[in-house]
Amino acid sequence: MTIAATLPAAAADGIGRRAARLLYRNGWLLLILLLAPPLLWLGVVYLGSLFALLLQSFYSVDGFTGMIVPEFTLSTYADLLTAANMDVVLRSAGMAAAVTILCALIGFPIAYYAARYARGRAKAAFYIAIMLPLWSSYLVKVYAWKLILAREGVVTWLAGQLHLTWLLDGILALPVVGGASLSSAYLGTATVFVYIWLPYMILPVQAALERVPRSLTEASADLGAKPSQTFRTVILPLAFPGVAAGSIFTFSLTLGDYIIPGIIGSSRPFIGQVVLQLQGTAGNVPLAAAFTVVPILIMAIYLTAAKRLGAFDAL
């Protein structure tokens, strides 16, 4: 009604009108016009860059001049497979796995409460409480933890107030995860990773839990299952695809991150830091490019496994 009212009374067959008719009669033409801009952008700019990068991983760097030799070779990949580099890969993948497990353990109760108990206003508040940290500034969050974990910072003060300094020192003295202070220990790195990626785990798990029909849990109770049995045998298996979906994010994001381990953690490098250093100060773009293939491969394997677990239906 309003549309008819706002139309010009006698729509003359202007160029616009003729163009509109042409597009209407030839649906494919409109489709091409709609598809061309995003396809050109993502296909040419983005995929083009990615392929150029992959191509460079088959080049090598001349040992004397430091120039890139644009000839096909596998020698860069041979350089990649040294013990030191494999250490870096294992360290990054190990951290990503630990962070993923911790996120699942901490995130599940929050998601479970938000999905099955929170109602009305409380539910909206929960939702915002999870969304705001997800979208708030990454660097600000890392910075907050630098304040907290610093040697003279909040955690040390709190331990002193509670007369638990011996416990903190004991934890820091542990092999592997410990260090001089929390801000230079793996433990600190893992804490910050868990903090930053936790919302990415909560949201898919919550969505999966909300899809569990209440009739199923009622049926389980009617058939005599205790609440803990219902949880273990009905809810947990149905929520698992959500955990798998969340783990894609926590794993992938941890695997490629180079800022958090650089600011909070020991000086032992992660994949991202090595790539940054290779393409920056070292100027070895082919090896940097070959290094980026590692997380792509790991993620390809991970995604295949996650797909089997039903993660994509839970996204």
Binding site: V45, Y46, A122, V140, L198, R214, L253, G272, L276
Partner: protein, 276 residues
């Protein structure tokens, strides 16, 4: 809801679960409060807690003595605005195409749009950088914008496509039957329907771009966006509380659009699928 009220009531949760959920939410929020506190600390050399004294001087210092902050802030705003504009156009085109018709490779298009945020940011960053250097493009405002627009498209696409899917096709048929041509239908029927989704997607894209640091390190060269400025302060601090003042500015600039986007789409839950 139904008669099983005692199961659904908010008070039914076991104490342990409530404590764990509350603890998790506190874990997500308390750290940001320390940013606020340390902006007023009179100690500029360390992160001593509790702060030895409280002062307002760092707000004055940030306002008056540090033009580098305001240059970085202005560059970030310009980049985010331009990247958002590009992402709105590209994301809406893609969403309209996917909604309107089934075509060969439709699933692949969705994958292609999600790829820039699904792969670790460092891969996007290094790929763009090596492409720039291969084509001998010098770093500029536009090299940053290209990177940002690439990963912002998905946010607009998700929001707009979700809205399109709830828009009834009969509305458009009715408009056509009443004599409107395609452009008029777009202007008077489609656009008002997707307006809030566009706005929400745009706000999220702005927040995403304003905050981005990983791709930007590779595409900025010597230019400093606000996150790059913060990163350099984190590595080599000058006046630590000034960094906190800037962090507060960043929190405000990103929280407002995020809350705005939430209220624009709260009935529809578009927001949850948007990912980051």
């Amino acid at each position: 809801m139904r008669s099983d009220g005692k199961v659904t009531a908010g008070t039914g949760a076991p104490l342990g679960l409530r404590l764990m959920a509350l603890g998790g939410i506190l874990f997500l929020h308390v750290p940001l409060l320390f940013i606020l506190l340390y902006a007023f600390s009179s100690d500029e050399k360390t992160f001593q807690f509790p702060p030895p004294g409280l002062t307002l001087q760092w707000f004055a210092v940030a306002w008056l003595d540090r033009p580098d902050i305001w240059a970085a802030l202005w560059l970030s705003v310009k980049v985010a605005a331009m990247a958002t504009l590009l992402a709105i156009v590209l994301g809406t085109c893609a969403a309209a195409a996917v909604w309107r018709s089934k075509f060969f490779g439709r699933e692949s298009l969705s994958l292609l749009i999600i790829l820039p945020i699904a792969l670790p940011g460092i891969i996007t960053g290094i790929a763009l950088r090596s492409a720039y250097s291969l084509m001998e493009i010098p770093f500029s405002f536009w090299t940053i914008v290209i990177g940002h627009a690439t990963f912002c498209i998905v946010v607009v696409y998700n929001n707009v496509l979700a809205r399109f899917r709830r828009t009834s096709g009969s509305l458009i048929e009715a408009s056509m039957d009443l004599g409107a041509d395609g452009f008029q239908t777009f202007r008077h029927v489609v656009l008002p329907n997707i307006a809030t989704a566009l706005l929400a997607g745009g706000m999220l894209a702005f927040a995403l771009s304003f905050d981005e640091v990983i791709v930007t390190t590779f595409t900025a060269g010597q230019q400093q966006t606000l996150p790059i400025w913060m990163l350099s302060e984190l590595i080599k601090p000058r006046q630590r509380p000034v960094t906190n003042v800037v962090a507060i500015i960043v929190i405000v600039v990103t929280f407002l659009p995020i809350l705005g986007a939430y209220y624009l789409t709260r009935d529809t839950h578009d927001f949850s699928g948007s990912g980051k």
